[in-house]
Subunit: 489 residues, 2 copies
């Protein structure tokens, strides 16, 4: 496998932009080309999630190629939901590592602020399992359920969880304030955080990455530069929450990290800083644990003690992260690597405590269904590098073509079924067709099956409570047993 | 670059299927896995065009992975409009050639027959340039314009063109009749062809590939098998007709072929048979010329003299092609390679005149905006192969970031402008919002600019005629000069 290097990188400012998707991508590409000693490009790898529904752009790879005046060259689009940028980067990496192309331009972008929040939420929610979507589940709803489960598992009080999430939001907004590309360039106070409304308990507006337009581009090359892509790795998890075994960590990140560390010959301790996919504040905490930086349940302590601040021992999201820099889905995975390159080169407006040599970025597709880890190293001495990659890591592989049984846990005829709340949220920003507040819970049925259901009443929801389930018109609804008894009494 | 081999392949039957997209892909994958000595898969590369709008499948790569019971493995989706299958194959090729993965499952699929023809036409037309779409242009309309121009350039009478197109349709339906995977398994007669209605003059229903459900899968491997992927190549052309210099050939195919031949150390004469993207009968004729099999303008003679028949010197679409096997966009690029493998292994229900050693497949994205060529060779002696690839071919590369100027040729204020019809069609199957018959023409303005316009009257349309253009509500309309004079007289 030939070594792969970064020759140049560029980003647009993130935020609400007047330009169209292709125009934004063109701006980012122009900046990357200006930043690069490589002038000839062999191919273009484009990242975007559902540009057809967001902006009506079909055959986007060809459209971007035309806009760049590079028609004739190979161009293709890569997609893995919100990690599409990282996916395109990895595919381009393979193109160069194979020797097929010498220089590849990777561009990711998103234009979404022209749509209403409900329209955007609806399109984004299409990456969620269909049955969970039918209950009204959105990305924030599922993220909130994981957060609540995390709180419970590590025995955090609601106040302590709030404090930790607030610390992530404040840190990332503080970092974003220094980043000229960031959507939000104002620090936020604890009071502002607490004043922000709940989107899905326990997550507030300030726990969620914003809706953002923007694009980012990188040039990957086989010619040695100061930035060597030393490790890449990808991992996946079931699309649906119901089929998962883990609700307080992301196995997809763990697999991706294991692969990337193996390729780079690195360990978590040898990483100097990281960009972690903080689409939700809680995901940054979980992400730092999945990446092996902190033990499970200790990511919050690290934030609280300032270890992940810019002047800490392991800066996380020094760029502001998705939270403050913004999250143009499709661009984010590339933007993280652009920020990594800027930090390694000292061209970001941040000074880290020690001169960084090795940066990691982690990108999440859907609800951590399709995740990527990328490690980039700064080379100062011009020595040649050699990929350590020993071949693909064995991932415990279930028997192929063993489809997940999608059994009907309750027939519509059966009146009631008992279960226990595995985790839950109260959704205050609902998709079209659902009235807020909407109680949603993941329920473990008596036979061990997992069910996503709507609460008939939102009070008394708590992890571990026994509920009665009913199925009506294909949707599960439930009532907490104690509520039911008081109603019946 | 490590050599890449095919370990196994599988397809579903093509046609109108009751199963959903993911289920079809699972069926094809199961067949490919059964066909393969390789049991362990390292990653999955998925091809699909706009599954979000066709079937509501977001994050498709993860969905397919779950359905296969292979969750945990890397999976990503690749898209280049109707050539997505070939694009995913090429990306997977790079993944193995780099040494990153040893065994990759490539799956492409489409579910589209559940939608109305007008809905399907509308979604498919999203890959067309927005301005041309606004005039009512569809894929058949643009294909028809190219066909008319081809007729004119090579001085074919309408009757002779009809005869050639009919010969392609009859040959491919005859071939499809032998293919158990084909959507249409009945030969058609000249009378049936002539009785089929015009979709867009001069193209009839029997000149167009059908709307099809289906999936196809391949396993690529680094371990030597009897099928070696000896050459791949990709080329592109402007999305819009207006920005093209060529209307009777596809430069994107020519570039892709040049690259694939160079990598395989092959020439057109060393190809034993080919699968050519016959989304329209005329495209098979043009394709065989672009691939260097026949001189420009001579593809029709070859068909007429039986040279491309199954028992000819260079069988084209022995499988029935997109025309008769069916065209599940996204699967087609992979299905072509599956058919190539079956022919090479002698497992297709066809016997070629000479035992084939080297097969080529050519896939087209959009109106030949993003094309691929793949060459596969049968190895009988177990000798090791070595990729000849000398690095990327230089493609004449325009200055980067030179955006194509999208000038307004006529201001709405200006009353009239003169131009000449470059090519035209009369569209009988129109997208929603346009009444048939709709005259559409590509018009060369006096200043050399190209304009797509709607005819005010459909009679007297002919290549070379002078027209008067007007722009109303952002759409160009035109009248043939002689008509205008007779109206004014």
């Amino acid at each position: 496998m030939l070594p792969v290097y970064i020759a140049g990188c560029g980003m647009t400012e993130f935020g609400r932009r007047r330009e169209g998707l292709v125009e934004l991508m063109r701006e980012a590409a122009a900046r990357a080309l200006r930043d690069s000693p490589v002038a000839e490009i062999d191919a273009i790898y484009v990242a975007a999630m559902n540009p057809e529904e967001f902006t009506g752009d079909g055959n986007l790879a060809s459209g971007v190629l035309d806009a760049l005046g590079l028609t004739g060259l190979p161009a293709l689009r890569v997609e893995t939901a919100s990690s599409s940028g990282a996916a395109a980067f990895h595919a381009a990496f393979e193109a160069i590592a194979s020797g097929h192309y010498r220089h590849v331009l990777v561009i990711g972008g998103k234009k979404m602020t022209h749509l209403s929040t409900s329209a955007t939420t609806k399109i984004l929610a299409e990456v969620i399992d269909a049955e969970e979507r039918r209950c009204g589940a959105t990305m924030p709803a599922l993220a909130a359920m994981m957060t609540e489960k995390y709180r419970r598992k590590y025995r955090l009080t609601a106040a302590r969880l709030e404090k930790l999430l607030c610390a992530v939001a404040m840190k990332n907004h503080l970092n974003g304030a220094r980043n000229p590309y960031a959507q939000f360039r104002q620090p936020i106070s604890r009071e502002q955080y607490l004043a922000s409304k709940f989107v899905a308990t326990p997550l507030r507006l300030y726990d969620c990455a914003p809706i953002t337009d923007g694009a980012a581009a990188l040039i990957l090359t086989a010619e040695a530069t100061d930035l060597w892509v030393s490790g890449i790795g990808q991992g996946t998890a079931p699309l649906s929450m119901r089929e998962r075994a883990e609700f307080t960590s992301f196995p997809a990140t763990q697999i991706a990290a294991r692969r990337a560390y193996a390729m780079a010959g690195a360990r978590p301790e040898s990483i100097d800083f990281a960009e972690v996919h903080d689409a939700f504040t809680a995901f940054e905490i979980i992400g730092t644990e999945d990446l092996g930086f902190f033990s499970p349940g200790e990511g919050g302590d690290a934030i609280e003690h300032g270890r992940t601040a810019v002047d800490g021992t392991l800066p996380i999201n020094a760029s502001g992260g998705l939270k403050a820099r913004g999250h143009p889905v499709g661009a984010s995975g590339i933007a993280q690597i652009v920020e990594t390159a800027r930090l390694l080169r000292g061209s970001a407006d941040v000074e880290l405590k020690r001169e960084p040599r090795r940066g990691l970025s982690q990108s999440t597709g859907g609800l951590a269904a399709n995740n990527f880890v990328t490690i980039v190293e700064r080379r100062r001495d011009g020595t040649r590098v050699k990929n350590l990659w020993p071949g693909p890591l064995a991932v415990s592989q279930p028997a192929p073509i063993g489809p997940v049984p999608l059994e009907n846990v309750i027939n519509e005829e059966e009146e009631e079924e008992e279960g226990k709340i595995e985790t839950f949220t109260i959704l205050h920003v609902t998709p079209d067709g659902f009235l807020p507040p909407l109680g949603l819970a993941l329920i473990r049925g008596r036979r061990g099956s997992m069910i996503m259901g709507q609460a008939e009443h939102i009070d008394s929801l708590a992890i571990g409570k026994t509920v009665y389930l009913r199925k009506t018109a294909g949707i599960y609804t439930f009532t907490v047993k104690s509520n039911l008894q008081s109603v019946r009494a």
